[in-house]
């Protein structure tokens, strides 16, 4: 018989002990294993990042003024009595409802065509459903202002030319609730498409066949069987679009504000950038947005948790394909029109604008120049913004993923209260719209214990706080796929915890983590809603510079910068695809701006 393993390698077990000094030492010894040495600082960091701005957000909203301690409900009362603010609340509601309407109007037919019909090129179009993410809110809004601004929009110019209309404005005005809702609908409809197409294609089609066997017609089956089964997916994605658009800042800022249409998010920015800023009003507006988001998220979870997805069995069902006959070309035309509006036309309008020396009141394809691009590269500010954006996105994505991997390890592998708590806590920022977090960060990091304002640090922490859930999702979803026994077998065959992490776990989750990292780099490169609050002069990032150019009316220059950002995003996504990583799931939760 071989010699037994030395017992001094044994660690102390977790047995109930009376509290003596030795027992205490034993308890500390039990806690001081590698697992806890790595996980505790991460838990503390996440807790700090989430708690500090949240607490300040709440406190300031009840203060009589920013720096005067006290308790008042004055600001909340004003929200519901001041006619201007009431109008803005109504605008916010209308905008969110309108966005939801456009999302469903676009998303439901597209999802059905992609998932259940014999529409040509369905697979290729499916892959393109993430295209709107390539033109994020900032660029989309800029593009749609190029296209639909009442006086200078290309579409309006062309319509006036073709229809021979009098005057120098119209006929379409994007600078209103419905215009903004339309653009946001284009941007958020991928959520409806993905959710509903997913539910439709994973549905057990024998349920429909059973209805046919019972004598139901195609129309009755669709109404009585198919629709109720995918209704939770529809409702859930519609609520998601509502929540996101209620807090969305960038599109209303670019398309609503010029026409005087303010919503809560743009009001928060307006109040915070006043001199002196009215932070209590800004934070109380933010609190209302957070409460609405939390309530609707809760409702959404209830909808999806009620066992309504019983049809998704994971068995390899081939959903029944509906033959559209000649109508399949109509379906294709509809989907292509969506692609055209959501991605192609905006990008073309940006390219067109970027090649003009000044924005002209007529449409022509001549006198193009690269002057805007040269001018951009000759401005030190552009270089500075690029440098800042690069540092922040690469550094921020790396730090976020590092935290996310450890946090994912806790939430996925530990089945205790700590794991559940961290899981909920880390996801809190998804309920806080960027613009609300922006103002909270500004308040929190202007004062001790951690003064970050005035440098890149506050931008870094802001990005990490808000997009940590994106990283956590990416890391957790790849860790879930690593069967527990793969790790256990490493332990059994002689590897300690750290060796197991290095040799087994990390290599196995690398593709998912890499995909999460690249997603974060792309998001951080273009982030505006947080940046616009917390940047300080000299610390501008690309998105802020673009916003400033647009605010100064330098539309062509802004278009050129937008084109550069799109090219850069396309290159990153292309590289990602080249390296075979998958982005799909990582995009979830990236939708706020």
């Amino acid at each position: 018989m071989r010699r037994a393993p030395a017992t001094d390698k044994a660690s102390v077990g977790s047995y109930p002990v009376t509290l003596s000094w030795t027992a205490l030492r034993a308890r500390i010894g039990r806690w001081l294993n590698w697992n806890n040495i790595i996980t505790l600082p991460v838990i503390l960091a996440v807790a700090f990042m989430v708690t500090l701005p949240t607490v300040w957000l709440i406190i300031i909203s009840f203060r009589p003024s920013t720096n005067v301690a006290g308790f008042t409900l004055r600001w909340y009362e004003r929200l519901f009595s001041d006619p201007v603010l009431l109008q803005r609340g109504l605008n916010t509601l209308l905008l969110a409802a309108g966005t939801m309407f456009f999302c469903l109007l676009i998303g439901l037919p597209v999802a059905w065509c992609l998932a259940r019909t014999d529409m040509p090129f369905a697979r290729q179009l499916n892959a393109m459903a993430i295209l709107p993410f390539v033109t994020p809110p900032l660029l989309g809004a800029l593009a749609w202002s190029n296209l639909l601004a009442p006086r200078t929009g290309l579409v309006n110019i062309l319509l006036r030319q073709w229809l021979g209309l009098e005057g120098n404005a119209g006929p379409i005005n994007v600078y209103g609730v419905w215009g903004v809702a339309f653009v946001m609908g284009l941007y958020y409809s991928p959520y409806v498409i993905n959710f509903v197409a997913g539910a439709l294609s994973s549905m057990d089609s024998t349920m429909e066949e059973a209805a046919f066997a019972a004598g139901a017609s195609g129309w009755t089956t669709a109404r009585k069987i198919t629709l109720p089964l995918v209704l939770p997916a529809i409702a859930s994605s519609a609520l998601l679009a509502f929540v996101f658009s209620a807090g969305q800042f960038t599109i209303p800022a670019l398309l609503g504000v010029p026409g005087g249409m303010y919503v809560y998010s743009t009001t928060i920015h307006q109040q915070a950038k006043l001199w002196p800023p009215n932070l209590p009003l800004a934070t109380s507006l933010g609190m209302v947005l957070v409460v609405v988001a939390v309530a609707l998220t809760w409702l959404r979870n209830r909808l999806t948790a009620r066992g309504s997805f019983v049809t998704v069995t994971g068995r390899g069902f081939r959903p029944r394909v509906i033959r559209l006959g000649p109508f399949r070309w109509v379906a294709l035309a509809f989907c292509l029109l969506y692609m055209l509006l959501a991605a192609v036309l905006p990008i073309l309008s940006l390219v067109y604008g970027s090649l003009l020396s000044f924005w002209r009141p007529t449409f022509s394809l001549s006198d193009f120049t690269l002057a805007n691009y040269f001018a951009l590269f000759e401005t030190p500010m552009t270089w500075n913004a690029m440098k800042n954006s690069l540092i922040l996105s690469v550094g921020g994505a790396t730090l976020t993923m590092a935290l996310a991997v450890v946090a994912a390890f806790i939430t996925v592998r530990r089945k205790d209260a700590l794991a559940t708590g961290l899981g909920y806590f880390a996801m809190l920022p998804t309920a806080v719209p960027s613009v609300v977090l922006g103002v909270a960060l500004l308040i929190a990091y202007l004062r001790p214990p951690l003064v970050l304002y005035g440098g890149l640090g506050i931008l870094l922490v802001g990005y990490m706080t808000h997009f940590f859930p994106v990283g956590l999702n990416a890391a957790a979803s790849s860790l879930v796929q690593v069967h527990r026994e793969l790790e256990e077998s490493a332990r059994v065959f002689g590897a300690n915890f750290l060796v197991m992490l290095r040799r087994i776990t990390v290599p196995l989750i690398k593709p998912g983590v890499l995909a999460g990292w690249v997603t974060l780099v792309v998001i951080f490169m273009r982030e505006l809603a947080i940046s616009v609050f917390v940047y300080s002069p000299g610390n501008e990032v690309l998105a802020v510079q673009l916003y400033e150019l647009w605010n100064d009316g330098r539309v062509t220059r802004a278009s050129a910068l937008a084109v550069l950002v799109i090219v850069q995003t396309a290159v990153i996504l292309g590289l990602l695809r080249f390296f075979g990583a998958r982005t799909g799931s990582a995009w979830k939760g990236a939708g706020q701006g």
Partner: protein
């Protein structure tokens, strides 16, 4: 290798699920022992406690004279310190390593010299007949081949104890038979102390030197496959291992030389049964295996021959199954096909006392 001792091992999960209540047993050096039981009986938890993947809340486990875990002595050797080999239900073959690297892992962790690693890995692969696959990645392998990789990896380090956690449950029937044989052969060749968890009674019977039948976190019976089958400790073991006719009976006279006259508690059947050891306490049940009921045509009136009526006849290919009514008691009998008997036919059968075994009724049954 070494013997494995479990002393009053118990495991209660947070949330107070008592998975293992009290398990005491010894697996001898070089012995092949199967833990057999329905799902939720605690067999896998017990195995995971032996591996160090779970920490028992009570009791002690020792490999030879080394205690690897003890609640009393506050000892816990983590899995990597126990020198074991293990084959998991999901195989747990690492998808990012070649077959060679998978099998080499235990040796690389021990920092064995390169030449020795090469030699021992190839030997292990040869033993499981997959040396040709050394450079492949697991995703390119079939389930059976992955299983062989998992087995090679478990034996390559010549561990003190070899553990199997339902390793064949994901394979199809034909491969399962093949791997059963392979694993038994390997274990006999290497002589490593082996514990094998399964819910498949035929697997346990075919492979193991001794079988540990478990129920509700406790050991129901330990014994050789023959003992477990022929002399089950109670009705649970009897019906879990093989098919069984279980007749509730009560004594109908004094015992004599291990033979006890009994009568069915319902129906008019009286027969002579065997008791192994002392008479069971409490309610008694008489076990008769279907294959131990013999046809006795033309022997009506002979000793141990009873008149019976065929209730149902089921053709099973190599055998025929009859449901019989013997004096108001329903019995299932299995025999060679004869092709003549129909429901309603009278058919005398022989019930030998040695095949009528008295058991105590276990709570719950199976």
């Amino acid at each position: 290798m070494s013997a494995v001792h479990l002393l009053q091992v118990g495991k209660t999960y947070e949330g107070s699920v008592e998975a293992v209540k009290d398990v005491t047993l010894t697996v001898n050096e070089g012995e092949f022992v199967a833990f057999l039981g329905p799902s939720g009986c605690g067999k896998t938890t017990t195995l995971r406690c032996i591996a160090g993947l779970e920490q028992p809340t009570r009791g002690e486990i020792a490999f030879g004279d080394t205690v690897v875990v003890s609640s009393e002595k506050k000892v816990f050797v983590p899995p990597e310190g126990r020198d074991i080999g293990m084959v998991f239900q999901s195989y747990a073959v690492w998808p990012h390593m070649t077959v060679f690297e998978n099998v080499a892992f235990p040796l690389r962790i021990k920092k064995a010299p390169k030449a020795e690693i090469e030699e021992r890995v190839l030997k292990a692969l040869r033993l499981t007949k997959i040396e040709a696959l050394a450079d492949r990645y697991p995703t390119q392998l079939s389930g059976g081949q992955q299983q062989r990789v998992a087995v090679s990896r478990a034996i390559v380090g010549n561990p003190r104890v070899l553990l199997f956690d339902e390793p064949l449950s994901n394979l199809d029937a034909k491969l399962r038979d093949e791997m059963r044989y392979e694993i038994s052969r390997l274990q006999q060749e290497l002589g490593i102390t082996t514990i094998y968890v399964t819910h498949d009674q035929s697997e346990a019977m075919v492979m193991a030197d001794r079988v540990v039948v478990m129920k509700d976190g406790r050991v129901a019976q330990i014994g050789t496959p023959e003992e477990i089958y022929a002399r089950p400790a109670d009705t649970f073991v009897a019906s879990f291992v093989g098919d069984a006719n279980l007749i509730p009976v009560r004594p109908a006279g004094p015992a004599q030389g291990g033979r006890v006259p009994v009568e069915a508690r319902t129906g008019g059947l009286r027969l002579l049964a065997s008791a192994w050891g002392p008479l069971p306490q409490g309610e008694m049940v008489c076990l008769i295996r279907p294959e131990n009921i013999q046809l006795a045509p033309g022997q009506e009136g002979a000793e141990h021959v009873y008149p019976a009526t065929v209730v149902r006849r089921t053709y099973l290919g190599s055998q025929v199954e009859y449901e019989l009514d013997v004096s108001g008691v329903k019995l299932v009998m299995r025999t060679h096909p004869d092709g003549r008997t129909q429901p309603g036919d009278k058919l005398p059968v022989r019930l030998e006392p040695e095949h009528c075994v008295l058991l105590s009724e276990s709570g719950g049954g199976a």
